[in-house]
Symmetry: C2
Subunit: 126 residues, 2 copies
Amino acid sequence: MTRQRTLLLDLIKEAGGHLDADELYRRAREKQPRVSLSTVYRALHLFKKMGLVEEYHFDESHHHYEATSKKEHHHLLCLGCGRVIEFQSPLSRYVTRNVPEARDFHIVDTELRMTGYCSNCRKTGQ
Amino acid sequence: MTRQRTLLLDLIKEAGGHLDADELYRRAREKQPRVSLSTVYRALHLFKKMGLVEEYHFDESHHHYEATSKKEHHHLLCLGCGRVIEFQSPLSRYVTRNVPEARDFHIVDTELRMTGYCSNCRKTGQ
DNA sequence: GTTAGTGCAAAGGTTTTGCATAATG
DNA sequence: CATTATGCAAAACCTTTGCACTAAC
């Protein structure tokens, strides 16, 4: 555990939500101006492997990361305002119970991503 | 509609499963040796916007594309052999019915991606 | 001290763009 | 013939890697 890794993990945890590598890099440099992007990526890989952080594929271009939480949760992405709404739902249980193809599958990870328009954006005509 | 786009759409449809841009490019060149990768990407964007094709985020690096099917379906990815198993499940209905946060959301798209180990890979010790 | 992590810059893979040429309607 | 799509090469974007240097244990 190095100074950089401690900082990065703290930032991820205190962010609550999801960060991308670049945002994490920017926040890290405010505290330690000399951290490099490589360190950020290397730390993210490490944290992911250690199970401390989870990687999400929200949009087409790049990834988002988030501190692993105990509860299974998923994301709603609003196409209007870009807001990301988290919700809890035992989807992996639902799927293992209801989907024959999944029955003899040993599930490691479940990622549900729904896109659409939130109530606000629907009112304002998107 | 140009010669290239017709070919590309045909290839996507006849592939059944999912293709990435590069695979599509390779197949296209077998029929029309001079198509370019740019054309492939431009066509994929267009098809996506037209609703003819859907984009999936299976792994971290690049995207996969698939002809839009009528039935809602999702994917199981085996971490052992790389196999992709499709299954049908009315998950968006399940979520809109059971998740309060989703109730006043107008859902456009639902993408569930589960990773794990298929029965074969479990038997052979992964 | 030895091992592992860092910063920098350069390379990697995927996707996008500018521009002149060619094809479409 | 005007408009739109194409091919090519170059750029952009995100991520990874090589290597000399520094920090951790």
